[in-house]
């Protein structure tokens, strides 16, 4: 069976004001379908760069990163966009909901990007909002929701188009302990299944228990996978 993610000798170097900063220094990592993988490590160790490359929104300088057996790096920009729109869901630390859209409209965005009609997309969005326990709040705007509720809307948005990989960046860091646990339970119960993988970047040790495997990073390397 093909891995969801296969990274081999990934290197990414940034040019910071004339100085070379090696963000990824030969990363090897496999993530299987049905697996919840956490990337942990100190600030600046390369976690965000790694998920950016995995999610196909940043190109590596060398090495290979395959998603579901496809090398995204060699795709044309258009194909890469379509691949990303169809196969990847995002959950961000700062939720990144569009403040002028209500919950249903926010959740419907990935469907609209994939060419779905707005009315159908919003109907599907409401269904997914029900799954994350916000069926009665679909008309609410982000400013009318608590942090935990906003993150649940963000999860619904990451799920609505049935992507095969969900990338989460510090999904619990802006939440209290209870809300954080609820969000992780939701991710594990609703988001994770046999045809989908989850990659979560986190500092939050309280949620390590939800991981199937944890990859510990430091200085652009993966130093341990447990």
């Amino acid at each position: 069976m093909v891995d969801a993610v296969r990274c081999e000798k990934l290197v990414k170097i940034y040019d910071a004001g004339g100085q070379k900063v090696v963000a990824l220094n030969g990363i090897d990592l496999n993530i299987k379908l049905g697996e919840l993988m956490m990337l942990v490590g100190p600030s600046g160790c390369g976690k965000t760069t790694l998920i950016s490359v995995i999610a196909g929104i940043l190109d590596q300088d060398s090495g290979v990163c395959e998603l579901f057996g496809k090398n995204v790096n060699v795709m044309s920009s258009k194909d890469k966009l379509q691949f990303r729109a169809k196969n990847i869901g995002f959950v961000f630390q700062a939720f990144n909901l569009l403040p002028s859209l209500n919950a249903a409209e926010n959740v419907s965005i990935p469907l609209i990007i994939n060419g779905e009609k707005r009315t159908i997309a919003e109907r599907k969005a409401i269904e997914v909002l029900k799954q994350v326990g916000l069926g009665d709040r679909w008309k609410s705007y982000p400013s009318q929701l608590s942090g935990g509720q906003q993150q649940r809307v963000a999860i619904a948005r990451a799920l609505v188009h049935s992507p095969r990989l969900i990338v989460c960046d510090e999904p619990t860091s802006a939440l209290d302990h209870t809300s954080g646990h609820n969000v992780m339970n939701l991710l594990k119960e609703v988001a994770l299944h046999q045809d989908r993988a989850l990659v979560i970047v986190t500092h939050d040790a309280r949620i390590f228990e939800f991981a199937d495997r944890i990859a510990q990073m430091d200085d652009g390397h993966i130093i341990k996978v447990t």
Binding site: T48, L81, A85, I88, F90, F92, A94, L98, L101, P110
Partner: protein
């Protein structure tokens, strides 16, 4: 994605209104000031456009504009009448004379003398009386604005009221009785216009050897006007212009020899720059503040082309609303000022000009915003 673009735009009501206001202001300045400018310039040739019947105006060849009177001898009228292709030719006197009012004050007026028989060249609209009333002894017809604003008489309680039909005034120590009130387009200097007969006008005017200002010519049916003006010039040595040519000559004189275009040009340019700066800056800062949202859309797979269309849609929408409001306010301004001394003319060309100006502002603002979004790294979304 259009729906999302519009909701993003209108989500922050304050900023949305700020952009609209900026463009409204730009559009208002770009239409209102030129409309006044065009209105003022239109007044320079209003006397010609108000005199509708003649096809051709004949005058001394040194005349530079309608108020630059260089009188001709009366015999020139007969020379013009003798040219083939001329259906009729009538004399016209036009000069500035001082009117003495009942309270002893003087007011400079434009006195127009019309052919005694036909009264051709009279005012376009009569409000009171008939043009034929000019055949009565000492009669004059005066324009309504001149009566209301400058030609008045004192009442018993010391107030001043406009002259009315039946009242009299003095022109060069000769009595003139108001027999009618006319509506004419205001002249450039907004002086009262007094119509009378040609012979009476000559009696009002200081004695001079030459007093004929213009010969008004009607061409025979089917006569080529260009050809006829050329023939009149050849045969008489006078200048002959079609109505439109004479208006253009007058208009161009004021454009070239007065500071009006440069003064208004600066106002319009400043309005354009300030409006562009406000609208452009607000629109750009709107994009900057939403840059993360564009980044989210980009990360989720929205193409640059779609984002470009979203920004263009936003720019077109605010541009259209701002333009519509600005033009609407200008039209409202013109309507409110229609009975005042303010010059105002709003031709369709001005709509096109201001529309192009507002479009340019929006396009520049959108272009800067688009470049910013195009260059945006979607990885920005992972930064907290």
């Amino acid at each position: 994605m259009n729906h999302i673009a519009l909701k993003m735009l209108m989500g922050d009501k304050g900023k949305y209104l700020g952009i609209i206001m900026g463009l409204t202001f730009a559009s208002l300045i770009m239409t209102q000031q030129p409309a006044i400018f065009i209105g003022i310039l239109a007044r320079t040739y209003s006397f010609i456009s108000d005199t509708g019947l003649p096809d051709i105006w004949v005058m001394d060849e040194k005349v530079q504009f309608v108020d630059d009177i260089k009188p001709l001898q009366d015999t020139e009228l007969y020379r013009v009448r003798g040219i083939s292709g001329v259906a009729w030719a009538m004399p016209m006197y036009k000069g500035l004379l001082k009117a003495r009012l009942a309270d002893g004050t003087f007011q400079t007026c434009i006195v127009v003398g019309l052919d005694d028989t036909t009264l051709i060249g009279g005012p376009p609209i009569m409000l009171q009386g008939e043009i034929s009333d000019l055949r009565r002894s000492d009669s004059v017809i005066i324009d309504v604005d001149g009566l209301n604003e400058k030609l008045n008489k004192p009442t018993a309680d010391g107030k001043k009221i406009p002259l009315k039909v039946g009242d009299s005034l003095e022109l060069n120590d000769r009595r003139a009785i108001v027999v009618g009130v006319a509506k004419v387009t205001r002249t450039f200097q907004s002086q009262p216009v007094i119509y009378t007969t040609y012979s009476r006008a000559k009696s009002y005017a200081p004695k001079e050897r030459k007093l004929l200002s213009f010969v008004l010519v009607k061409a025979d049916k089917g006569q080529d006007l260009g050809e006829l003006t050329r023939r009149i010039r050849e045969k008489t040595g006078l200048a002959a212009y079609t109505q439109q040519e004479f208006m253009d000559i007058t208009y161009n004189y004021f454009i070239k020899n007065t500071g009006i275009p440069i003064n208004f040009g600066i106002s319009v340019l400043l309005g354009f720059i300030v409006g562009a700066a406000i609208a452009g800056q607000t629109f750009y800062s709107f994009t900057l503040e939403n840059i993360r949202q564009f980044g989210v859309l980009k990360a989720m797979g929205t193409s640059n082309w779609t984002l470009l269309r979203m920004i263009l849609l936003q720019a077109v929408l605010v541009g259209s609303i701002g333009y519509g409001m600005g033009v609407g306010l200008t039209a409202l301004f013109g309507y409110a000022m229609r009975h005042t001394i303010l010059a105002f003319k709003f031709p369709w060309q001005l709509l096109v000009f201001s529309g192009a100006g507002v479009s340019l502002i929006c396009m520049i603002a959108a272009l800067i915003s688009i470049l910013k979004v195009m260059r945006l790294e979607p990885a920005i979304v992972f930064k907290s």
